[in-house]
Amino acid sequence: GSGPGTTARADGTLSFTVAVVEPDLTTVPVLAAVDAVRRQGHDVDVVELAAPELAIEGLAQGEYAISAEATGPALSAIEQGAPIKIIADVVGNQWALYGRPGVASCDDLDERPFGIFSSGAVATAMAKDWVRSHCTADNRPRYLTLGGSDVRAQALAAGEIDATPLELSDAVALEASEEPAASRLTKIADFARTLPDLHPQTVYANAGFLGEHRDVAQAFVTALVREHARINARPRHLARLARTYLPGEDEADVVRAAERYRKAGLFDAAALTPRNMQGTIDFFARAGVIGRGVTARDAADLSFIEAVS
């Protein structure tokens, strides 16, 4: 079944829950899509959670119908047999490796502090992957385990570390901040380019929900694809959405960041294909997050995005 969190109402509309994780700019289109579904008469509850694992747990239990965040935990859950399917992209690979001014390649990082997150995280995996392929054996940085992207951004600005992978929004915030060193950060590698098949953040849903309420799920995905299209077409659309859904944020910051996300073409819910889905799975398998043997067919149901166009 579709789980305890979803109920069909007498008039044929649904009541279900969407979980978002620490909402930021990348979540805004999802929230806009939820509103679109609501306009069709469905009652959609949005809960904000503190960590993607909590969302996954809720999805697996059927408490939530849809959620969107890190792909890694979703794959882990799927590998363990949880009824979860990836249905769309939420934001492209927004990570890049940033370094202190003057740091351009691995040669500058020999034995230098290099900030990473805990070993399961995608940022850590990407960074290590990059080091493996770009650095020689006797030319290795010294890993320093720090907190999330925001913590690492601060550490980079303060000169505590020489390089670290950052989310786009944190890089933008850092560049805009008053710290003098921050504005001169160098982008050492853009993971969107070096790992083109990797989709680290996706939309996923409870499999039972998808089976029983295909129409609602389709409506959601369609709405999301539309929102993304609108954002890409009109520069100020994302900023306007942000004003609605992230009222507390600083206006200027949001506009600046929105522009960067749009320019980088990161918003494309339909970007998932069987090929890059498999590429993503292979990446996580390489990184040790999941074992080998998960296939794109197990993990994803791309029929929704295919049905949009």
Binding site: F117, G120, G147, A155, V289
Partner: protein, 296 residues
């Protein structure tokens, strides 16, 4: 119960009824039940059974069964990674806690001795007691960086309040007669501190150290969960991110065990160091030990 015989009955009249409640010599079953162990085992069994059943009935990705967790814990104990994490975490714990003790005891004793000082500092102590340190972590990172220093400071911040509050309480309840006695023998303020205040406050200080130790463990894990995902907190994040529930709970169990171990050790040290402070008569009414918690 030892093997010493109960006192020999001098006389037992026919059909005597001994008192309001007869004081029989307890049988072996009663004696076994008189000990703590059976009750501890009982609650443990209830707890483990309840856990296992619940997890089986509606276990999620983040809620493993009890047996799985035990197996994962045992497996973890064989892994170098765990021991490295313990080593890393405990470094911060040790330094931070030492800092808390070094700062907290003098601060607490001074607060207890000088009323005026205390009146002004009291509100800050209250603030320190209720401030959610987790919210301060981003600020701490910004001002102190992510190096070991900020971890140490955070652990210290977590535990120092307990040490201060209890040292203060300890000094406050020093018998003024002892201070007067020392003065009558010509002791100066320094001697009063070293010879009277500190030793007399020791039991309360040790209680503070014990409570502070518990808080320090919290601080250690929290800082790793939020700021530096290394050590035990890092392991938690990793296993959580991978949705590997059994080892996740294994790490939590190990943290709990460490906390309990440290606190027991502190308790033991406390009892060794402050033997004199324990009431040696079960019915003694006056010397019921320091009323530490009272003055929070």
């Amino acid at each position: 119960m030892t093997l010493t015989a109960t006192p020999r009955r001098t006389r037992r009249g026919p059909g005597t009824r001994a008192g309001p409640r007869p004081a029989h010599r307890p049988g072996p079953l009663r004696r076994f039940l008189g000990m703590n162990l059976p009750y501890q085992l009982l609650t443990f069994a209830v707890f483990a059974g309840g856990w296992e059943l619940y997890a089986r009935a509606r276990g999620g990705l983040l809620l493993p069964g009890f047996t799985e967790t035990v197996r994962a814990t045992v497996a973890l104990l064989g892994e170098a990674e765990l021991w490295r994490a313990l080593y890393v975490s405990n470094q911060a714990l040790l330094l931070g806690f030492a800092l808390a003790v070094v700062v907290g005891i003098p601060a607490g004793t001074a607060l207890g001795r000088f009323r005026q000082f205390e009146r002004y500092a009291d509100v800050y102590l209250n603030i320190l007691l209720v401030t959610p340190m987790a919210a301060l972590i981003p600020l701490l990172v910004m001002s102190m960086g992510v190096g070991p220093a900020s971890r140490v400071v955070l652990v210290a911040l977590f535990s120092v309040v307990m040490v201060i509050v209890n040292s203060r309480a300890g000094v406050r309840q020093v018998d003024p007669a002892l201070i007067e006695m020392a003065r009558s023998f010509g002791a100066d303020e320094r001697r009063i501190w070293t010879r009277i205040l500190l030793p007399a406050a020791l039991p309360a200080v040790m209680t503070g150290i014990r409570l502070g130790l518990g808080r320090a463990v919290t601080g250690m894990v929290l800082v790793e969960l939020l700021m530096v995902s290394d050590g035990l907190g890092g392991l938690i994040l990793t296993y959580r991110g991978l949705l590997k529930a059994p080892p996740l709970y294994g790490v939590i169990a190990i943290i709990l065990a460490e906390a309990l171990l440290l606190v027991s050790a502190a308790h033991w040290a406390e009892r060794r160091l402050t033997r004199w402070a324990r009431p040696n008569e079960p019915r003694s009414l006056s010397a019921s030990g320091p009323r530490t918690a009272r003055s929070f």
